[in-house]
């Protein structure tokens, strides 16, 4: 307890803070907004897990008038956890815009909603590209994929195991037990390339009010409905949005799970592993890349020129590292590509690598002059996107760089010189002939 006081103190003093910085991307100070302090106890396993991973959690009531995200224009926290689904108006200086600015300045966010999520929470989610079911009384119901339970009669407690297939997001270890989910579903805008469906509903699931009869088809049905989604913003800020707060709760962590129709009964649900791995990703303990030492030069030279000539041969190299949570490890992949780009890529090559994070290639400058760019635009599922571009002009031949003494032109040369010779002879002859 007293430890937490110190944490809080640390959090409030911006000078002492270890800020979220590009060289150590993973977060340190996390603000947790609750709408009931009991959540701190009821979800303590999740929080303790975070603490054990070295995060400084700062618990506040969401309507606490003293809370603020930044002071003197500097953010006090690296990440924000919104476990206050019902909050209508944050206390202090925080509002939806403030939270979105927080994200837009590169910080991370975890939002958990539930059955009676407030419009504020819904709006924040929407701003991040996640559309919760507009029917505020709807819950996700699945009559085929529910979790068998003696007490939960209406099938709103769902055992879902349709995870996204990405080691970088969910960790390399497979999640065996299904994840318990009880809450509201959301849909993603298909054209939105930033948001990913991490846990999607089963084909038979739908989102409706279990207490009232259905007249019109529900807006969200089947696999197109998403239960848990992550967003990676263009500035690589990461957002986790879950339709269920209780997904993080001790009860779900602890409880056993049996998916309807499946004989196997796991005596522990997959929630803990799922949530933990997910939080690792969200807090940049995984999948954060950086590129350094972008170099290019003519073949056989060392320092990079101010301008290339057409048809030069050049070499390009870059080093890419991944943040492992503690240190920068070399990133190993075989699909990093570089473009030599002027309005459209003239050359697009896959870089070869030495598996120690060093990527390199060599190619010939096109015989088109202009201002080109070396572009590396590396986007992979779950990884932060790398986008390097380096401008370099390409000039045509100088007047004296063209080929000379071409055999094909010998006759012309010959003619020209014979003319000169003839001229010389002629002068003499013409002058002195009598």
């Amino acid at each position: 307890m007293s430890k937490k006081l110190i944490v809080l103190f640390l959090g409030l003093v911006p000078l002492l803070c270890t800020c979220f910085s590009p060289d150590t991307p993973s977060d340190r100070r996390v603000l947790v907004l609750l709408d009931d302090f009991a959540i701190k106890s009821s979800h303590s396993i999740f929080f303790n897990n975070l603490k054990s991973r070295g995060f400084d959690l700062d618990f506040k009531l969401a309507d606490d008038p003293t809370i603020s995200l930044q002071r003197y224009g500097q953010y006090l926290y690296d990440a924000l956890i919104l476990f206050s689904p019902t909050i209508e108006r944050f206390g202090g200086s925080i509002d939806a815009a403030a939270i979105l600015d927080f994200v837009d300045s590169g910080h991370d966010l975890i939002v958990a909603a539930n059955g009676n999520a407030s419009d504020l929470i819904r709006e924040i989610a929407t701003e991040c590209g996640v559309d919760f079911d507009e029917d505020s009384s709807a819950l996700v119901i699945d009559h085929s994929g529910y979790a068998v339970s003696a007490t939960e009669g209406d099938h709103t407690l769902i055992a879902s195991d349709d995870f996204i297939k990405s080691d970088v997001i969910l960790g390399s270890e497979k999640i065996k037990a299904p994840v318990l989910f009880q809450g509201i579903g959301h849909s993603l805008n298909p054209s939105n390339s930033l948001v990913l469906k991490v846990l999607s509903a089963s084909p038979s699931a739908y989102s409706a009010n279990p207490k009232s009869k259905l007249t019109s088809p529900p807006s969200l049905t089947g696999t197109s409905m998403s239960l848990v989604s992550v967003v990676q913003a263009r500035n690589n800020a990461r957002i986790l949005i879950s339709g269920s707060l209780s997904m993080f709760s001790n009860r779900f962590f602890r409880s056993d799970v049996q998916k309807a129709g499946s004989p196997t009964k796991h005596d522990k649900s997959g929630n803990e592993q799922f949530v933990t791995e997910l939080s690792k990703w969200v807090f940049h303990e995984r999948g954060h890349l950086k590129a350094v030492n972008v170099k290019h030069h003519k073949v056989g030279e060392v320092d990079e020129p101010a301008i290339y000539r057409i048809n030069d041969d050049l070499e390009y190299s870059v080093e890419i590292y991944e943040w492992s949570g503690k240190t920068w490890e070399p990133y190993v992949a075989n699909d990093v590509q570089v473009q030599f780009y002027m309005m459209s890529p003239y050359v697009l090559k896959t870089l070869s690598t030495d598996n120690k994070g060093y990527y390199f290639t060599a190619f010939k400058v096109p015989d088109v002059y202009g201002v080109f760019q070396f572009k590396v635009e590396y986007e992979r599922l779950g990884y932060t996107s790398l986008s390097l571009s380096k401008q370099i002009p390409v000039r045509p031949f100088r007047h004296n760089e063209y080929e000379r003494f071409i055999p094909a032109a010998y006759p012309y040369y010959g003619a020209a010189f014979s003319m000169m010779a003839g001229f010389f002879i002629f002068t003499a002859v013409h002058l002195y002939h009598k």
């Binding site: 302090f37 303590s44 009559h143 207490k211 190619f363 094909a408 014979s418 002879i425 002859v429």
Partner: protein, 698 residues
């Protein structure tokens, strides 16, 4: 009161909310009593690191929990803990540690000789006398209490009990809360401590405490219970607004501290504190509802409070719980009810009475009226052996009541009156005579009709155009033969381009039918012709055989989209795995160099171009060219030679220029040579001119 704004908003919302409110307030899943899972959790939460716990406080909590839960395979920490206890007792440690040392000692019974207790006691009395803060009083008085029942020979009685009592009471607030110090902000947690301390004072009082004061405290307790908070599932708890300066107490620790205080106080005071039983029961429910806490502190508070509730003097909550609230008609389940105390020990003799049971859809028509459950000795369950035929699949609310056998039990036990329990009666719903048909539009003449057995998995394939209709129908009947309206009855048409269209299948009685008139739907279908897969989903909470199955596919040909308002298709979800990934490589095509002629040819022509020069020379000879005009005298001759040398020089310079020189050097040199040429040329030419003039004149 609350309704008015809702009225002002729309009616649909009102109904919906009412429904919601109802469902919440009258149907809650009941938490069961403490079970073995708590024991295992306790063991894992209170795992001693190499033989001992981190602090005395924790070790006390651990031992206490093990004691309450009667955990058998508890870790033996006596050997490691007792020395700690002793050292804390002998050395003058802060009150808190002393307090917990004594508590631990109380459980472990380490060997401590009497006079240690003596001087601790004297020290404590001193502190009690001039303690100002509530916490100090609490610890010191608590310690004295502990000494009292650990070493009976030590005199721990407070001389000035009244004064102490007063000094504690002085910290109380009008709303029943207490203050830690004389600072204004009050706290519920503190109230718990204060009450416990007061209880201690009363026990330790050498002389009887003035009854009026005790009653004042009792009023404080009642006031305190007015500020109790309530969750929507009928559980009660105390919560704590953050108090400056003191670490914040969560609802669990606050509640448990209050519980501790109140019951301690109740235990030592004569006469009953008349607290409403349902609040006690609500507190019990609260602690049970926590389930298994995540960390040790919460577990301790939960268990200890429950233990106190288990045996308190005010009213002992009895917990009515159902092992299962979902009953399947198909495998003739029996309705079982258990009644326990919070810690799961058996309840006093009583009968559980099912006051009535009604379906959530028809609230006022009860399906069962006053029925007693039979008590089954060996299982300890109260059983309703057979459900009457009126009970069909569906969601019901059963209302139970406990009737204690001995009359005055009411005063001792809190039963909580009528208990509403939601019961899901599930069963297998019969799906029969499903048929699927394509009709001609205007005169509903059937073109193709197929019947299919939905239980099996047979598939139909149809074809239709936009002038036709599609009809699909089936029947649902409950085990009891009534019509059944599932919550989910969707018909899904999925185009090969993954565009889905979902329709709710409506029903008339048992018969479910949907008719799709494609003429009206072309717009909705984005004018997409082609193969549509048909899928049927039928599901309900009480339907055990909820299913989602393909019915086959429909070849649909729709008219072309009118170019005027071609519906732009909504974007389809992109598969995230294909969205990324490497692009195809691009390599630049270089301009092909001009074709070169063979070198020999060039050489041949080189020689050819030189031929005319030869011809020229030959021709000159043929013409009999002579240089007789060459000046004979010396000076002009030299000029002549120089002149031609100059020209030659310029020409050679040109050749050099072509070979390597650059333009400007060439120009400069040419200029120089030019001057020279000008001079020489002028001389020689004028000479020639004069000679020729002479010739003419001559």
């Amino acid at each position: 009161m609350l309704l008015l704004p809702r009225m002002s908003s729309n009616l649909a919302r009102l109904l919906l909310l009412l429904l919601f409110a109802f469902s919440i307030c009258d149907a809650v899943a009941l938490p069961g009593p403490i079970s073995d899972r708590h024991r295992s959790a306790a063991l894992e939460l209170f795992a001693p690191q190499h033989g001992s716990f981190a602090s005395l406080e924790e070790s006390y909590e651990a031992l206490r929990i093990f004691e309450i839960l009667a955990v058998r395979e508890k870790p033996d920490v006596r050997a490691t803990t007792c020395p700690k206890v002793l050292e804390n007792l002998v050395s003058s440690t802060p009150l808190k540690d002393l307090f917990y040392a004594l508590k631990v000692n109380g459980i472990l019974k380490c060997k401590v000789n009497g006079d240690i207790f003596k001087d601790i006691a004297s020290r404590l009395k001193a502190t009690v006398k001039d303690a100002k803060t509530l916490v100090d009083l609490y610890y010191s008085i608590g310690s004295l209490l502990l000494i009292k029942d650990q070493a009976s020979d030590v005199d721990v009685l407070l001389a000035d009990a009244d004064g102490t009592f007063h000094s504690i009471k002085a910290l109380s607030q009008s709303d029943g809360k207490w203050r830690y110090t004389d600072k204004p902000e009050s706290s519920t947690y503190a109230a718990g401590l204060a009450l416990e301390a007061l209880a201690g004072v009363i026990t330790l009082a050498s002389s009887e405490i003035d009854q009026s004061r005790v009653n004042l405290v009792k009023n404080d307790i009642l006031k305190l219970f007015d500020s109790i908070e309530k969750y929507d599932d009928g559980t009660f708890y105390f919560d704590e607004k953050l108090v400056g300066g003191h670490e914040h107490q969560g609802s669990i620790s606050t509640t448990s501290s209050v519980v501790r205080g109140v019951f301690a106080f109740a235990a030592v005071t004569s006469g009953k504190i008349n607290l409403p039983g349902d609040k006690i029961l609500g507190l019990a429910k609260f602690f049970l509802g926590i389930g298994i806490p995540g960390d040790a502190k919460d577990l301790f508070n939960q268990i200890e409070s429950l233990a106190l509730l288990e045996s308190n003097r005010i009213s002992i909550p009895l917990i009515l719980s159902l092992p299962a609230s979902v009953y399947s008609l198909s495998n003739k389940d029996k309705l079982k009810v258990r009644v326990n105390t919070v810690l799961g020990s058996a309840a006093p003799p009583l009968t559980v009475k099912l006051v009535r049971a009604f379906s959530t859809v028809a609230k006022d028509s009860a399906v069962i009226q006053n029925k007693d459950l039979k008590y089954d000795q060996n299982s300890g369950h109260h059983v309703l052996d057979v459900l009457p035929d009126e009970v069909d699949v569906g969601i019901y609310v059963f209302v139970f009541e406990m009737v204690l056998h001995d009359a005055d039990g009411e005063k001792v036990y809190a039963t909580g009156g009528q208990i509403h329990v939601p019961i899901y009666v599930t069963g297998i719903v019969k799906v029969s005579n499903a048929e699927i048909a394509v009709l001609d539009n205007d005169l509903g003449s059937i073109e193709t009709q197929k019947t299919l057995d939905l239980a099996g998995n047979d598939i139909v394939s149809l074809s239709a155009n936009h002038l036709q209709k599609f009809r699909f129908s089936f029947q649902l009947t409950t085990p009891r033969g009534h019509a059944f309206k599932p919550h989910q009855a969707f018909l899904k048409l999925k185009h090969e381009t993954k565009y889905e269209h979902i329709f709710v299948v409506g029903n008339a009685g048992k018969k479910f039918e949907i008719v799709l008139d494609f003429l009206g739907l072309v717009e909705k279908f984005y004018y997409l012709s082609g193969r549509y897969d048909i899928e049927l989903t039928v599901g309900d909470a009480v339907m055990e055989n909820s299913f989602l199955r393909p019915l086959g596919h429909l070849e649909l040909d729709l008219p072309e989209a009118p170019t005027s308002k071609a519906p732009r298709l909504p974007p389809l979800a992109v598969d995230p795995y294909t969205r990324y990934g490497p692009k195809a490589e691009i390599t630049h095509l270089f301009r092909t160099p001009e074709k070169r002629p063979p070198t020999q040819l060039s050489l041949i022509f080189l020689s050819l171009t030189l031929l005319p020069l030869i011809g020229f020379l030959v021709g000159l000879l043929r013409l009999g060219v002579n240089l007789r005009n060459f000046p004979s005298s010396a000076a002009p001759a030299t000029y002549a030679i120089l002149f031609h040398l100059g020209i030659a020089a310029v020409l050679v310079l040109y050749v050099l220029f072509w070979l390597k020189l650059d333009l400007f050097t060439t120009l400069k040199t040419t200029a120089l040579l030019g001057v020279f040429l000008l001079f020489v040329g002028h001389r020689i030419l004028s000479h020639l001119a004069t000679t020729s003039a002479k010739l003419k004149s001559a």
